[in-house]
Every structure is written in C-alpha cells, then in structure tokens.
C-alpha cells in the first residue's frame, strides 16, 4: 500500500461531560462511525459522511463535527479534491461515482438576478386582500382561438383544447425513482402533491401499488431501460414523461446498484431481485428526432390521446434547437434539467462538468420557441438546482411555466445533502431500501414537511408577485423586464435578455 490513507473528511468528537451514554448515535449511524466497547462509545471518524443524523438525534448536543480536520498543503490548482480523485483512481482504475448535484463552486446565475417591486407609480397588490392567481396549466395550448355563432346568436368556441395538467402552484416534484429513494419517501411526496393539487414524477422505477391512491397526481416515466413500463402503468399516470437525459449526467444512462433492488423494488421495476438495473445511454428505439416523435405518438395512441406526454432533456449546449424540435412533435411539455440537477448516482466527471446552467437554458429555449412561433405548442418545466421561492420566481420570469424540485423536497424529508445516495445506507430513510432505515421515515409526517415547504414557497411567490404588481402567474412568465442582472457580464445579460441593475 504505497498510497496509504487519505486524511479523514470529518472529525467527530463527543463531549464526554455532556454525553449521557444513551447510544442513540450508535443506533442511528448506518455508516458505522460509532461502536461500543465496554462502557465507552468509540468513534471512527473516517467513516463519517457528514449526514448529521447523529447530531440531529443526540439528546444532549454532545456531538461535534469538524470538516477537514487535517488538510493538504494548500494549492490553487492541485486542490484536495483533485488529489484525492487521483489517489482513488490510482487505486481502483475506475470511474468515480458521486451523488446529489454538481458540487463545484461555480457562480450561480440565480444569485446574480434580482427581482423588481412597485413603488408609488403602480400599487403593489396585497395577496391577503386581493386574489392572487398561481394556477398553471401544463400542456399544449392553441396559438389562436376560433369562435362560431350558433343559430341562437350565441358565440361558441370552435377550437378544441388539448388535455392539460392543472397545477394549483407552479411547483412539481421531479422524477426520483422507487429504488433510488425509498417507498416512504415517494409516499410522503405523493400525499403532499395530492393535497396541494400538483404533481410528482415516478422516476424510472415503476409505480408501487401503495402509490395507486395518488396516481392522479403522478407522472409516470418511460426511460431508456423501460423498467416498470406496461399499459397498466401508463394508464395510471396523470401524464407520461419520456426521459431522454438528466442534468446530473447528460448523455449517459442510469445505474441502480443491485443492493438497492429489494423484493418490492424488483416487483415495481419488473426485474430480478438483487440485479443491477442498467438503463442504456440512448433509448434503443430513438436515434433521431423522428424516432422520438413516433414514441410520443405510440404512447398517446396507447392511452387514447387522453394524457399529456412530456419529454425530459438535460440542458446541453444545443438545448434550444432540441427543444424547438420537440415542440414540433406531439409532445405537450419539455422538461429541461440543468447541470446542477441531482442524482442518486452519477459519474463525478459528468455531474461536475457536463451541461449548462438551467437559468441560461430557460432563457434560450423560451426565446427560440418564440422566434419560431411555437411557444404555445409546448410548456417549459425547469429543473436542476431550484433551491428557493426566489429561484422559482426567477425561473418563471425567464420563461418557464413551472419548475420541478428534487433535492429541495428531499431536504424537507430530512436529507442533509451528504451525497452518498448510491450506497443504500441513507440514515434518513430516504435513499435506501434497507427496511430498518426506511422505517425511520414516517410518510404521514414526511407528507406534512414536503407540503409545508411547497406551501411556504407558494406564499412567498404570491408575495413577490404582489410586490411586483402582478396578480396572475401568466404575467410573470417570460417577464424579463422585471429582472435585473447584478455582476453578470454583458454576454450573459444578452443571452438572458435581462438589463443590468440600474438600467
């Protein structure tokens, strides 16, 4: 072993004066940091992921966690991360896996966009006193309407509307599969979206029977592995999403490690217990846009043209023309997943380097669709790093119809973003299938937490709109006039079509 060990990421210590020796830390840490020897709790800091489960469960606040207790000689280019990745690969000769979203310290465009508010010349609107409309319809809309006069002289609508999903708030929960996350996580979110009148995605993991009561608020996913897909599954969903790509790993497929394929997961996915579920990089029946068009039509035909079909793509450099191509198909919405999008497992090199920010992708897609006169043909759903109601408001002002959240919903369930989702050891019962861990998450309580988060954001969005003198979400959508860029360069402002602060 010429490489030796790398410095531990965390140092865990227990204040022995505070500790009451209850052993909750040992019980709760699924990574095996704590163990009891005789009457002493011993600590193996090296195993710590920083998930903070022990800290959250310690009744005496006796545990302290220090990040990077020992660091490398500082160097601006050869960072700790770079050196450790090299050491890992020198050992293994393999691809480095990672979880959650892009972990690089790149500037966040959302943080450099500022929202507007009214002063004097136009009154702000108080959402507590006046109606505030957030209702959003996702799906195809006619570009113009035709009317006819009936014999009795009444005006009647001649144009037929395509099926649309009705959202009470423009926040949905993105696709996180049963397998990647636990059934209790999915149940928590399903109960929340049903209560709130919005939607969540199943991910590529089929639809577990326990979710049937919430199926009218679930969007079923058809991804390249086609796991869990049959006619029954398609018919249960409120809408169908074809997943082409994912922000955390554009251009590659998916991998659910065998250890996460429990009996229940195996049933929902229709694969053997313990087998790795590998989704290929491309759909093997989609090699061009016309193949996608066929798949969309096949799915619509199978479900009698009653359900909207979405197409999810990763935000890559050419995202705008790709979205414009999708708009010309029978698809009803395009879901764009930015390069900060989360994942249960992705090669680190993809997660941290491939794709473009969602803010830029929304701006260029909305612009392209308008230039080509097809904006009404398709709804834009933005995802990948939406952290707050401000990110939500800015996404809509840039041109999105609604957003999907993922990581934010998991954090509402307890996730502390430790990024070890692919290990099946999630101590919060979220990204794991181990029954003892899953049982830590009570779906009734989880539902309240997720629902609280979405309600809180919805109130904040109402207040932001009211302050901007806007009482319906349509008037925020694409309203880049109400955004200003702060410390963004000229090229970026041009692409976002946003004026700099002060202008």
């Amino acid at each position: 072993m010429t490489l030796g060990s790398v410095p531990p990421k965390f140092k865990v210590s227990i204040d022995r004066d505070q500790c009451m020796d209850c052993g909750r830390c040992i019980e709760n840490c699924s990574y095996g940091v704590y163990r009891r020897e005789g009457d002493k709790i011993l600590i193996e800091s090296r195993k710590c992921t920083g998930c903070l489960r022990c800290v959250a469960m310690c009744p005496r606040d006796a545990i302290t966690l220090t990040e990077k207790p020992i660091d490398y000689r500082s160097h601006p280019l050869w960072t700790r991360e770079v050196r450790e990745d090299i050491i890992k690969q020198a050992r293994s000769g393999k691809i480095i896996l990672s979880g959650m979203g892009n972990a690089r310290d790149l500037p966040v465009v959302y943080d450099r966009l500022l929202l507007d508010a009214c002063q004097v010349t136009n009154p702000s609107i108080d959402p507590l006193r006046e109606p505030m409309e957030l209702r959003t319809y996702i799906g195809k809309k006619p570009s113009k309407l035709k009317f006819r006069k009936t014999e009795s002289g009444d005006v009647e609508l001649e144009t037929k509307l395509a099926p649309n999903l009705k959202l009470n708030t423009p926040i949905m929960i993105g696709h996180m599969s049963f397998g990647a996350i636990s059934l209790n996580s999915q149940l928590s979110m399903a109960k929340a979206v049903t209560e709130l009148g919005t939607y969540m995605g199943t991910g590529e993991g089929g639809l577990h029977e326990a979710l049937y009561p919430y199926q009218d608020h679930m969007i079923v996913q058809v991804a390249s592995g086609r796991f869990g897909v049959n006619i029954d599954y398609l018919e249960r969903g409120a809408a169908i999403e074809i997943k082409i790509g994912q922000g955390a790993k554009p251009g590659i497929g998916g991998h659910l490690p065998g250890e996460k394929v429990s009996e229940e997961v195996s049933k929902a996915r229709m694969i053997p217990i313990g087998s790795d579920a590998i989704s290929p990089a491309p759909h093997h029946d989609i090699y061009s846009i016309e193949d996608l068009v066929q798949l969309i039509r096949s799915l619509k035909e199978a479900t009698e043209w009653k359900k909207p079909v979405f197409v999810k793509i990763a935000a890559v450099h050419n995202v705008a023309p790709i979205a414009a191509g999708i708009a010309r198909s029978s698809a009803d919405a395009v879901v764009i997943d930015g390069f900060r999008g989360g994942t249960g497992a992705a090669p680190k090199v993809f997660r941290d380097n491939v794709g473009i920010p969602i803010e830029v992708a929304i701006a260029s897609v909305d612009q392209k669709l308008r230039e080509q006169g097809v904006r009404n043909e398709i709804s834009i759903i933005a995802s990948g790093g939406i952290r707050t109601s401000a990110d939500l408001a800015k996404s809509i002002a840039l041109g999105a119809d609604a957003v999907n959240i993922g990581t934010a919903a998991l954090v509402a369930l307890g996730c502390r973003v430790c990024g070890n989702c692919y290990r099946n050891l999630c101590p919060w019962g979220i990204a794991t299938q181990r029954p003892d861990l899953v049982s830590r998450l009570d779906p009734e309580i989880g539902a309240v937490q997720v629902s609280n988060l979405i309600k809180g954001w919805t109130y904040e969005l109402s207040e932001l709109m009211g302050a901007a003198g806007i009482n319906s979400i349509e008037s925020l959508r694409g309203n880049r006039d109400r955004l200003r860029g702060y410390m963004l360069d000229e090229q970026m402002l041009k692409i976002l079509d946003v004026l700099p602060a002060g202008a």
Partner: protein
C-alpha cells in the same frame, strides 16, 4: 396618474376638437405638462381610402428622404404636407409633424405581407425601429394622432385641434413615470386604425412585449402603452377576435369566477386564458381604444385606475373623471362607473 377621455358619436355625426380640449385641460391635476395628445377619427373624408401617416421628423433632410423612399418603394403617396401648427410659448417644436396620404401597391402584396394593413404595419415597424430622426405616430385611415410634449391646451392650440371634426375622439393628459417625456412617448399610441390612451403602468409589459414581438411587432417607443396597440392589432385584426373577446383576453375573469360559470362559458373563458395568457395585462390601468368600428374602454382586473362612463343619446363618453364628461356634455345622462375588467363598447349604428 394621467387623465384619459374617449368619445364616440354612434351616428358618425362629427364634433370639433374644442370641447375635448376643454375637458382634457380640466384634468390638468392628473398631468405634468410633459405630454398630451388627441386622436380623431373621421377627419380626412377626402382621403378616406388612403392611409394617413402622421410622422415626426427631426428635420426634413435625411430622415424624410428615407421615409419617402420607403413609401415610394411600397406604394403611392397621393398627397403630403406639413401638419399646420401655430407656435405656442409652452411647446418647443422639437419635431416637424408631417402627414402623408398613402396607398400601398397591390403588386407587392404577397407572402407575409398579403394585405394593405400588413404592408403599412411593416412600414411603421421599419421606420420606428430603423430610421433615425423619424417616428410614425399614426397610420390609420381617415384618422390621425396629434401629440407633443406640453399641457393639453397648448398641444391642442399648437395643432389647431378645433379645426378638425371627428366622430371618435380620444384625449390624453400625461404624467410620465416609466419613460421620458418626449413626443413619441405621448399618447395616443396608434397602429393602423387602433389608437390607445392609457392611464397606468403595465406590470406585465415584459411578457406582453415578448409575445407581440414573436409576431413581428417591434416595441421601439420606450413606453408600455405601445404594446396595447399591437395586442389589439394582433388579436383583433390577425386573430379576428371580437372586441368583447379581446377584452376577455387582456383582462380576463379570475379563475374562481370561471370555476363558477356554466360549463360552456367556463370552457370558453379557460380557452382564452390558456391561449392568450401572454396577452393578459397586469398592473393598474384604465384604457380607451379607438377602432374602425367604435371605441372600447376597460380597466385592469381589480380596477386600480378610475374609469367613468356617461351616455347621451347616440353619444358615449368614457373618462378618468366625471367632471371631464360634464364639460364635454353638461346634459349627459346615465353616468356610472363600470366594474373591473368590464368592457365598455361603443359601436357605430349601421
């Protein structure tokens, strides 16, 4: 702030501009002396078949040469002249107001420009966006817009507004807040036969602007009101919606109200909101639009700006203030304030 007036005589009996001037000046508290204007329909009966293009020139050299060339390329100028004005101490003549009577050539109507209106719309967009020193401020038939920076009475006297006789009049007394006080930014805003006077601020401007620009309109006059004229042209002329439907699209009922409507009516209103969501106008406003068939007045959905209506026989008056209507017609009957979003429509009697 701003004060607005709309007038129509449904029998097309014409009225001169003196009482509009008086009524608008009465609302000087709503203005700041930075802009005022009038639109009058029925003023050029001798040229009724030609587009009357009112243009502000910075000078009669290069800008005019370019406009002349563009018009001659696309059709025939049957008459042109400087719009007669009388110098006023309160008005600095920064532009030379000019008018052309123009007919587009049928030979050139093809493709995207299949009609006279398309050609004229193109010319307006082209001049206003790309010809430096020239701004077309009205482009309808048998109508014209007269506006400048100044108080309403000064602008009226400058243009000798009492010399014109119209069956529709719009007036606007401006207090600019979100754009500079310049001649092009004064109201009414016009495209073809659509003219708009507006009190308020459109908080959805960015959305509306992006929407109309997708259909080839160019917002180049630095004022939110411009977009209203283009929305009316797009929905009214290109999409052939009735005035009632246009108002439903621009100031639609709330979803709570739609949910309570009978199924068919709810479906129609839902379809309008889904299709024309980007045309919905938000923020405080009261607006009167002049069209070739009459006038349409309406306010925002929660009525954050005043609008009063009065009637007397064949005459319909819409204004920010009842006092202004009473100056126009001391005998006015049936004065009332419409509900938020309710369209007030005055049409000619066939």
């Amino acid at each position: 702030m701003c004060g607005i007036i709309g007038f129509i005589d449904r029998t097309k009996s014409r009225m001169d501009g003196s009482s509009i001037k008086a009524a608008l000046s009465l609302m000087n508290e709503r203005g700041s002396g930075d802009g005022a204007g009038y639109a009058a329909y029925g003023i050029y009966p001798e040229y009724a078949d030609y587009y009357a293009l009112h243009v502000f020139f910075d000078n009669l050299g290069e800008p005019k040469k370019k406009v002349d060339e563009l018009l001659e390329q696309w059709g025939e100028i049957v008459h042109q002249e400087e719009i007669p004005t009388t110098p006023q101490p309160g008005i600095k003549k920064v532009h030379i107001p000019w008018r052309y009577f123009f007919k587009p050539s049928e030979d050139l109507m093809a493709g995207k420009m299949a009609s006279e209106n398309d050609v004229v719309t193109y010319i307006v967009m082209e001049v206003n966006a790309n010809v430096k020193g020239a701004t077309i401020c009205s482009s309808g038939k048998n109508m014209g817009v007269f506006k400048a920076s100044g108080w309403p009475e000064d602008v009226a006297n400058f243009y000798r507004i009492e010399d014109y006789k119209g069956y529709i009049w719009l007036g606007h007394n401006r207090y600019p807040t979100n754009s500079p006080g310049w001649w092009g930014g004064a109201h009414p805003f016009n495209l073809l036969n659509w003219s708009v006077v507006h009190n308020g601020e459109i908080t959805s401007y960015g959305t509306n602007q992006r929407y109309v620009e997708g259909y080839g309109y160019k917002c180049s006059l630095f004022t939110d009101t411009e977009v209203v004229a283009y929305l009316f042209d797009l929905l009214g002329r290109q999409h052939e919606l009735s005035h009632e439907m246009i108002v439903k699209a621009l100031a639609p009922p709330f979803w709570d109200d739609i949910d309570r409507m009978p199924a068919k009516e709810a479906e129609l209103n839902k379809a309008i909101r889904l299709t024309y969501g980007s045309a919905l106008m938000n923020g405080p406003f009261a607006i009167v639009v002049g069209t070739e068939n009459g006038i349409v007045g309406f306010t925002d959905r929660i009525k954050l700006r005043p609008l009063v209506v009065g009637e007397n026989g064949n005459r319909l008056y819409i204004s920010s203030e009842e006092s202004a209507i009473r100056v126009l017609d001391p005998e006015v009957k049936n004065v009332y304030t419409p509900r938020a979003g309710e369209p007030i429509i005055g049409r000619f009697i066939e």
